[in-house]
């Protein structure tokens, strides 16, 4: 059993952003357009490698970008931003539509001082191409080597001469019983008859004349297969 490699605490130590969810949501749209590059690189790495231990560096860059972003906002547009996120925090679900006025004020402040434009609706959900130096990993799932495919069958393949012998098999089930006096007995559940040879193929509509006479003699309709058929196939 292989050992689990976990990075040490020192490698995991990164300057974290100490900020609550309302602040993050308030700044989300601008953050998405400003810190786009390191974010997309991190997500690409995470999704390709399928391993968080390999994406710690990109994660660190994401944190750096986010910290820079918040420092810039704090330096320039602190009051309007504080009003915006307090308004968001006050509303029940943090809906963005409850705070349009404060959003306008914040947007204009940021546009004036930092030149940032709020991205249009649908811009952040667009699929982007990311260019990285990291090579594409082969076998990210660490799967074992797959077996070789079957070799190509050479020679001419033709259909079989008499068709498939298994054609009627899905119509009825065959039961096998060992009766001491009669040996191994095959019974067919559909026709309730004992078969002399399991490979005999039946045609629908065949009936014995003897059975029909027996039904007429008694004058009672016992169903399609007559009275004898219900006795489990013994004759």
């Amino acid at each position: 059993m292989p050992t689990l490699d976990v990075p040490s605490l020192q490698e995991l130590s990164v300057d974290e952003i100490n900020v609550s969810s309302a602040v993050l949501k308030a700044a989300a749209h601008h953050y998405g357009s400003q810190c786009d590059k390191p974010n997309k690189e991190f997500m690409l790495c995470r999704w390709e490698e399928k391993d968080p231990r390999k994406c710690l560096e990109e994660g660190r860059k994401v944190n750096e970008c986010a910290l820079n972003f918040f420092r810039q906002i704090k330096g320039n547009c602190a009051e309007s931003f504080t009003e915006y996120w307090t308004c968001l925090d006050y509303s029940n679900l943090g809906e963005l539509r409850r705070c349009r006025q404060q959003q306008q004020a914040f947007d204009s402040c940021v546009l004036d001082k930092l030149g940032w434009e709020r991205p249009e609706l649908g811009d952040l959900s667009k699929v982007t191409k990311v260019s990285t130096q990291r090579p594409l990993p082969d076998n990210p799932y660490h799967s074992r080597p797959r077996p070789e495919p079957n070799p190509v069958i050479e020679g001419k393949l033709e259909p079989s001469k008499y068709g498939s012998r298994l054609f009627f098999w899905n119509w009825a089930s065959l039961t096998v019983a060992e009766i001491p006096s009669q040996g191994v007995v095959w019974t067919c559940s559909l026709h309730r008859k004992r078969l002399t040879d399991p490979l005999l193929t039946w045609t629908v509509g065949q009936r014995e004349e003897g059975r029909r006479d027996a039904k007429r003699k008694r004058g009672v309709d016992r169903g399609k297969y007559g009275g004898e058929g219900h006795r489990g196939g013994g004759e």
Binding site: M1, P2, K25, Y31, G32, M43, P52, L121, L124, S125
Partner: protein, 144 residues
């Protein structure tokens, strides 16, 4: 007798004024077709308002989802680091706790593969108080 003047209650001279006694059911108001028309018109207007508002709500929902999309890398990175940190702490605790057990390999994975298997919540919160695990598992659950 015809000649005697008896005080009787008689109609006023000239008779009573005429009043209408015939049934009066005037045809008034709008016709049936126009009532249908008004009803259907009100409904159509209602539908139009509803569709407009639904489109507006969809735009608002897209905006909220985009906020989530924008924040996802940050949150994912933080979550990864947190999980790895907890695994590291668990590993060190395990080394301390199991150092006297013979044949115990510290940090041995339970799987035969060496790819990254996302750790279970139980695994991460094993050595912590139970309420932390319950908060992680059920803290944000709104339904039962």
């Amino acid at each position: 007798m015809a000649g005697s003047k008896v005080k009787q209650d008689m109609p006023p001279p000239g008779g009573y004024a005429s009043f209408d006694y015939k049934r009066n059911l005037p045809k008034r108001g709008l016709s049936g077709y126009s009532l249908f028309g008004i009803g259907i018109g009100v409904m159509v207007f209602g539908y139009w308002r509803l569709f407009k508002w639904n489109r507006e709500r969809r735009r608002l929902q897209i905006e909220e989802l985009e906020a989530r999309i924008a924040l996802m890398p940050l949150l994912q990175a933080e979550q990864d680091r947190r999980a790895l940190r907890m695994l590291r702490e668990n590993l060190e605790e395990e080394a301390i706790l199991m150092k006297d057990v013979p044949g115990w390999k510290v940090g041995e994975s339970v799987f035969h593969t060496d790819r990254w298997v996302p750790p279970m919540t139980e695994e991460l919160f094993n050595l912590r108080p139970r309420e932390e695990f319950l908060h992680k598992r059920f803290g944000f659950l709104w339904y039962v």
